[in-house]
């Protein structure tokens, strides 16, 4: 239809991808413990539903914040009128301090360098508008969050060139992969404006190592390009390792207040760490005052509701709450992740060793008929329609190897997770027995065990081989 823009008529919003189709299927037949026990269990939603009780308890104890009051007086009117795109100062201060706390107070965040946005969706798009012309490219390591295809490219006209990462080294970013991606962009006649990484990674659930972070900072420094670090899962780190932010690395390399530091931008949000995606709280942190200035003006297109800013400024200013919350959040995530991993193992399925995030990167390559993405999609359909689990196929995350799936664990109860794992086990066992009928049983078990063992061996030895440089 010529009367509409090409943005409308094309599919660049990315919503025809399988990532979203699984959602649609789930919505048609959603699992409910009592009302629809045979429905599809949603394991494709990276939500943190484990700690609402902590927030609710805080609200009950803090009626002023809860009731939009200050010292007992209603400030409803003042909030209703507050539309300053600089944001509520007390909110930005509290947010800056919360970000510092998550990073062990090793780095400082200046509230005046924070730009609020309507979720990290808006924050990422805004940064693209600020840093890239239509046709410019950003390099992203694969696999990556499918939403980036929409958020970074759709209305901005920017391009994404993948940095191919493989399971052979746990999907870490290597220098050669980086160089290759850069050259590929040049071959395609695309000007590379920067690199965007998600740390901790979605969908991998792992943190970038110091080696990778150093590599990235050195690379953007030498090429004079930007580095965007999407750190929206920074508060979900549950492993014993500390989260290392790109800001830590800048500090350790004595690059603070340099030209390089001006090209490093952090994206944050309260959707994952605090489990408040509905409130649409995103933020851009930049050391470049021109970026801050332009992004602030652009935030007019998606400001954070003032009543939400007020509530959260009170919540995050309560340091007792934030430290208890961050602690408890980690504990609960760790337990739930363990439950998923054990459940998967009982089904003979392994996953990438993760220490963060709300999901696991699961290896189902051994369940594929052939080592192809067609087979992956076939398997995925079976899992959605027969096993009734909505998980996300690796191809939707632009993974270069078929057979990997992202499975979320923090958006359901223990019982539901149990049930999900039971269903998976039943399916795998029935698949195995079907395969055993068609193939020699001995050969099959042998090859299955070998793959499972080798994965274990690989993961264990890999962590030894690449020690953390901290």
């Amino acid at each position: 239809m010529k009367q509409l823009s090409t943005k409308v008529t094309s599919n660049a919003h990315g919503q025809d991808s399988s990532y979203f189709l699984g959602w649609e299927e789930y919505e048609k037949n959603p699992y409910d413990e009592t009302k629809n026990p045979n429905g599809i269990i949603q394991m494709g939603l990276a939500e943190n539903q484990l700690c609402f009780d902590l927030i609710e308890t805080w609200l009950a104890k803090n009626p002023d914040a809860a009731g939009l009051k200050k010292d007992g007086q209603s400030i409803f009117k003042e909030l209703a009128l507050f539309q300053d795109y600089h944001g509520l100062p007390e909110f930005k201060k509290a947010l800056a301090e919360f970000m510092e706390e998550i990073r062990g107070n090793r780095v400082t965040f200046d509230p005046s360098k924070i730009v609020l946005a309507a979720g990290s969706t808006s924050a990422n798009e805004t940064l693209m508008f600020c840093l890239a012309e239509p046709g410019d490219a950003f390099l992203l390591p694969t696999p990556y969050y499918p939403g980036f295809d929409r958020d970074l490219k759709w209305r901005t006209g920017a391009e994404i060139v993948p940095i191919h990462c493989s399971s052979s080294n746990g999907f870490q970013i290597t220098e050669s992969a980086l160089q290759q991606a850069y050259q590929q962009a040049q071959k395609l006649d695309l000007k590379v404006k920067g690199i965007l990484v998600t740390n901790p990674s979605n969908p991998l659930g792992t943190m970038l190592t110091r080696r990778e972070l150093n590599l990235l900072v050195d690379f953007v420094s030498s090429k004079n390009i930007h580095l965007i670090s999407d750190e929206i899962y920074s508060g979900t780190v549950f492993g014993f390792e500390q989260f290392v932010s790109v800001m830590d690395v800048l500090k350790d390399k004595n690059l603070e207040n340099t030209e390089v530091s001006k090209r490093v931008h952090v994206v944050y949000s309260l959707s994952k760490d605090l489990g408040l995606p509905g409130f649409r709280v995103g933020a851009i942190y930049s050391n470049d005052e021109m970026v801050v200035s332009a992004a602030t003006k652009m935030s007019s297109f998606g400001l954070v509701s003032s009543q939400t800013q007020y509530l959260l400024s009170a919540l995050l200013s309560d340091k007792k709450f934030t430290s208890t919350y961050l602690d408890e959040n980690k504990k609960r995530l760790k337990i739930r992740q363990k439950q998923l991993v054990s459940g998967l193992e009982a089904a003979g399925v392994t996953s990438l060793k993760s220490n963060a995030g709300l999901f696991c990167w699961v290896d189902m390559r051994h369940l594929l008929d052939t080592n192809t993405f067609e087979a992956e999609l076939e398997l995925w359909k079976k899992i959605v329609y027969e096993v009734k689990l909505n998980i996300s196929p690796g191809s939707s995350c632009h993974c270069t190897e078929p057979g990997w799936f992202r499975v979320c664990f923090a958006n359901m109860s223990e019982d539901t997770l149990d049930l999900a794992m039971k269903r998976l086990k039943e399916y795998v066992e029935s698949t195995d027995s079907r395969r055993m009928i068609s193939k020699s049983s001995h050969e099959r078990i042998k090859s299955l065990r070998k793959r499972t063992v080798s994965n274990w061996v690989f993961r264990v030895s890999w962590t030894d081989r690449v020690p953390d440089e901290r």
Binding site: V8, P63, G119, S122, R155, L276, L311
Partner: protein, 495 residues
């Protein structure tokens, strides 16, 4: 020094043209008035000589009615004891379809503000980050970079940013004149359309604000029909910004484009879109509730996907759903708001009448379109800017010069009245009185007769000499960033 400059230049190259350019519109001197206000804001006790903010179109007159309801309904908040049960469900709700109860309540409210003469389908309600976000989304949906929208002047300066900045779309002014009450004529539309074609700008739509900002006037049925017919014939879109729908008072009635399309045979509804918001009608700009309402299914679909970039906070959706579902409250609020707007408007206009200052007859909006043409030294925008600076720095009122609204004729100013209390209004009027009485009188023929409300006319000297000392140096040849404000569209004399 040199290295700093080189550094800055290099820096500029690292950012996009959008980020490093002026498309945000904020380098315009329109903001000087705001800066003056921010440096010295009026407060009746702490800063009685400060600048009074009359440049902010906010509806602050019914805050007490709103507050009363909020205090009486703690369950509307998901954070209070009464509402806490709903906290987790709302906190995780990020579905871009929005809470069904929110959409239903907004649809109902939109119907009420149009006197229930039309129905709105909740499934066509798409959220956005305020009307600001709604306009940008609509532009992204309907136009490609380089395309153009026709916009009758004077128009809200923010459109220059909202519709153009990141979208690459052009705005083509449809010039309206005070001589016929700033009417949007078909001739003016055709002329603008032709001009766009000559400039190789494919016209994709017509954007009109009804009730008008900055004029405060409403379009009558005939005019609305002519706009629908014009756009239908040209096969271009019609975008109706109706964010001031509930701010009509007095005799005037608001007629929505939604009503008019029902009366036109073979109307192509795929070309009709409404932008709405709760910022003006309800006085809730901080809550960022913008709405795109389109009769085009594909636009609804895509705008909804785009709404991910500016969803309404679920906490706010929940509150608004509860509030707007309370029909008694809504009726009371709208009624009270109209009464108070009428009263405040009357206060201002009576005061201006007494001083012989003209204003455009209008009965909607949160502002007045004031005629100071006869105070200009010369009928130029330079003079307008000069006068404006005097008003800001000497009279200490932040009003908005017509130039900033792309008015075709210099000398008009938008004056907001709904963002202050009675005492502040009195102070503002007193300052105007003092200002005008300090001007020397001299016979001067009136520039032109226009259709205006009755007023006591005084003759002003053509070479206006300001009797008070003004040592401030005005910018020479400075052209207000706000393009001339066009004459008001539809002004009809009561007599």
């Amino acid at each position: 020094m040199v290295s700093f400059v080189t550094e800055k230049k290099q820096n500029l190259n690292l950012l996009s043209r959008i980020a490093s350019g002026d498309g945000h519109g904020e380098n315009s001197s329109y903001f000087d008035g705001w800066k003056a206000y921010e440096e010295n804001p009026f407060h009746p006790i702490d800063r009685p000589d400060g600048v009074i903010q009359m440049g902010l179109a906010e509806n602050q007159l019914c805050g007490d009615v709103m507050r009363k309801w909020v205090l009486k309904h703690p369950e509307a908040s998901i954070c209070t004891e009464q509402g806490l049960n709903g906290f987790s469900d709302i906190a995780i709700f990020q579905d871009y379809h929005g809470l069904p109860e929110f959409r239903q309540a907004v649809a109902k409210f939109m119907e009420k503000t149009r006197n229930n003469r039309v129905k709105f389908d909740p499934d066509r309600i798409v959220m956005s980050g305020g009307a600001t976000g709604a306009h940008e989304t609509v532009a992204f949906c309907l136009a490609n970079p380089g395309d153009g929208f026709l916009v009758p002047t004077p128009y809200y300066p923010g459109f220059d940013r909202d519709l153009r900045w990141r979208t690459g779309v052009n705005l083509v002014p449809v010039t309206c004149h005070s001589s016929d009450g700033f009417k949007i004529t078909v001739e003016a539309l055709e002329a603008a359309y032709e001009k766009a074609r000559e400039s190789n700008i494919p016209v994709k739509g017509l954007l009109m604000t009804n009730p008008s900002n900055p004029l405060g006037t409403t379009l009558d049925r005939e005019c609305l029909k002519s706009l629908v017919k014009f756009t239908n014939e040209k096969k271009i879109h019609l975008i109706a910004d109706e964010i001031y729908a509930a701010t009509t008072f007095g005799q005037s009635e608001f007629i929505s484009v939604a009503e008019v399309i029902e009366e036109i045979e073979d109307c192509n509804r795929d070309l009709i879109h409404i932008v709405y918001s709760l910022s003006k009608d309800m006085g809730l700009p901080g809550f960022r509730v913008g709405i795109v309402y389109s009769y085009n299914d594909r636009v609804v679909q895509i705008a909804r996907k785009m709404s991910s970039f500016g969803l309404v906070s679920s906490q706010t959706q929940h509150l608004i759903a509860k509030m707007l579902s309370d029909e008694d409250f809504v009726d009371e609020f709208i009624r009270e708001s109209k009464l108070r707007l009428a009263a405040r408007h009357a206060e201002l206009t009576t005061g201006l009448d007494g001083l012989g200052i003209g204003w455009l007859k209008a009965e909607a909006g949160l502002f007045l379109w004031m005629d100071l043409r006869n105070l200009l030294k010369t009928a130029t925008f330079d003079s307008e800017t000069e006068l404006w600076r005097v008003i800001i720095h000497q009279v200490k009122l932040n009003v908005s010069p017509g130039g900033s609204f792309h008015c075709h004729e210099p000398g008009w100013f938008r004056v907001c009245f709904a963002n202050m209390d009675h005492k502040t209004m009195e102070t503002a009027l007193e300052r105007i009185r003092v200002f005008t009485s300090q001007l020397e009188e001299e016979t001067k023929p009136m520039a032109s007769t226009t259709m205006m409300a009755k007023k006591k006319k005084k003759c002003w000297q053509s070479n206006l000499r300001l009797s008070f000392n003004d040592k401030r140096r005005f910018d020479d040849g400075f052209f207000s960033p706000h393009s001339p404000v066009p004459p008001s569209p539809l002004v009809r004399a009561q007599t």
